[in-house]
Amino acid sequence: MSTKADTVVKKGYNVEEIRAQFPILKELVNGKPLVYFDNAATSQKPRRVIKAESAYYATINANVHRGVHTLSTKATEAQEAARETIRKHINAKHAHEVIFTSGTTAGINLAAMSLGQLLLKKGDEVVISGMEHHSNIVPWQLACEWHGAKLKLIPITDSGEWDLKQVPFSDKTRILAISHVSNTLGTINPVKELIAEARKRGIITVVDGAQAIAHLNVDVQDLGCDLYAFSGHKAYGPTGTGVLYGREELLERMPPWQGGGEMIDTVTLEKSTWARLPFKFEAGTPHIAGIIGLGEAIRWMEDYDFAFAKASAEQCKSAFAAHEHLLLEHASKELLTIDGLRIIGTAKEKVGVISFVIDGVHHYDLGTLLDQQGIAVRTGHHCTQPLMDHFGVSGTTRASFACFNTIAEVDAMVDGVKKGVNMLR
């Protein structure tokens, strides 16, 4: 099935060539070809990533950093090559500003626990926004509770954007923790602008980049943030991998969060001293295979996503993002022809994420019926319950696009939704 819109997409962007690299896209689900629209939860993996991870186990598996033997050296080199790839990709100044974590959640927990100890005193304030994922709410709630600080909220507008007139900065604000892109709404937030404002006030800034890394050209120096967390598995990399970028000067001041092997310089029973960056924050054996896979995922993205172009003065969008934007526009237009359907999140700047509710149709029912048709979407509150409360809904159905999705798949979803709605009304 080839539509007119498909032809447009294919000009300069060969989606079939990209699809051919994802083995999972050949799978049948419930007897139907898989349509995978749950990329905001986790993206699928290209063959190169799968191969890189298994090649590590098959040829150079050894623990990193401490060994004198050849395999350990090779494993260390491969892991550190991945660190350098990521450094370049996000334009960090130094490779040791790239800390490997198990994912965005671990990165934000590290940030909240360590910064909490470094910065927060009774009466201090931490500012987050009303569209944060629970992972960027709960760690700050914990840190605030432990240090007697308060959590303040940037309110959300009806279109699902920050209300920048009501940013609750005060002379007590110590930390700003915000998402680059909303996982539920797809909103691309004006993080650079807000970070600049925070920095003027001496506020430390933490960005949850989980939903940005696969779609935007993230440049941490340009953003000006102190810390930036993302997951590997949402950017075509393995699960259980992630990165916390931190500005060197801040990381040096931050106390370690987890203790163990790899992160110490010397240990006596009275007192230990910490290893240099980044190892101070990497206690225990890292997910070496995953990290190598993540490095390959970033290289794969760079190879295919060559045509970085300035989409606006604020954000650099990639060729992938431009393709996903076409899918988003097509999906929005077609879905809105369905009676009683409302899109939640209508910001001007969005990545390829579309959340919707339909009068008289429960998202769980719709998700189940779409699954029967081989279409994978996510339903529920998407770990953003405060945001759901804001919009007065219990949950939404969310389709989130990646570089390998097609207009024909969007059409299949729209047909599937119509079929589901007919059955449920």
């Binding site: 419930n30 429960h362 998202h363 769980y364 029912d365 998700g367 189940t368 019926l369 699954d371 029967q372 048709q373 339903t379 529920g380 219990s394 949950g395 079929k419 059955m423 449920l424």
Partner: protein, 155 residues
């Protein structure tokens, strides 16, 4: 009809449908026959935890009749009422209620729920947090255990 017979009846009923659409349409129809929970019981305390949709479940002893337990003792029968805000979930609760209603606590506690798999609704049994089928079964069995304990104390 015994509990096992009711399960068999459901399996045969669903075997008539060859495609997913008919199967789910039938499930949605079954949901419309669910004995609805009374408004006073449709409260947060009766919500089944672990469902993406909301499910309210209430159980009481049926005062009309009693059944015979495996040990030959007279045992009370349990009557379930429920509701859900999602139609498929409501259909699934209706299936369970049809199987478990007017049974003795012992029958419910000992019942296998393999029939769900056999009627092609296996996806709803997966240990996925999104669906609460196993949570519903657990909750029904917990009610049965509780009623079993109280009826023994009373006898």
């Amino acid at each position: 009809m015994s509990l096992a017979q009711t399960q068999q009846e459901l399996i045969s009923e669903f075997a008539l449908f060859s495609d997913w659409q008919d199967r789910y349409e039938h499930l949605i129809e079954l949901g419309k026959d669910l004995p609805l929970i009374a408004p006073e019981h449709k409260v947060d305390d009766n919500l089944v935890r672990g469902c993406q949709s909301r499910v309210w479940l209430h159980a009481e002893l049926s005062n009309a009749s009693t059944g015979l337990s495996v040990t030959g003792h007279k045992e009370p029968l349990i009557r379930f009422t429920a509701d859900s805000d999602a139609m498929i979930t409501k259909g699934i609760v209706a299936l369970l209620v049809r199987v478990f209603n007017d049974r003795t606590p012992q029958e419910i506690i000992g019942a296998s729920t393999d029939f769900i798999d056999q009627i092609g609704l296996r996806a709803h049994l997966s240990p996925n947090r999104a669906n609460g089928l196993s949570a519903m079964i657990d909750q029904m069995k917990r009610y049965a255990v509780a009623f079993s304990a109280t009826s023994r104390q009373g006898s």
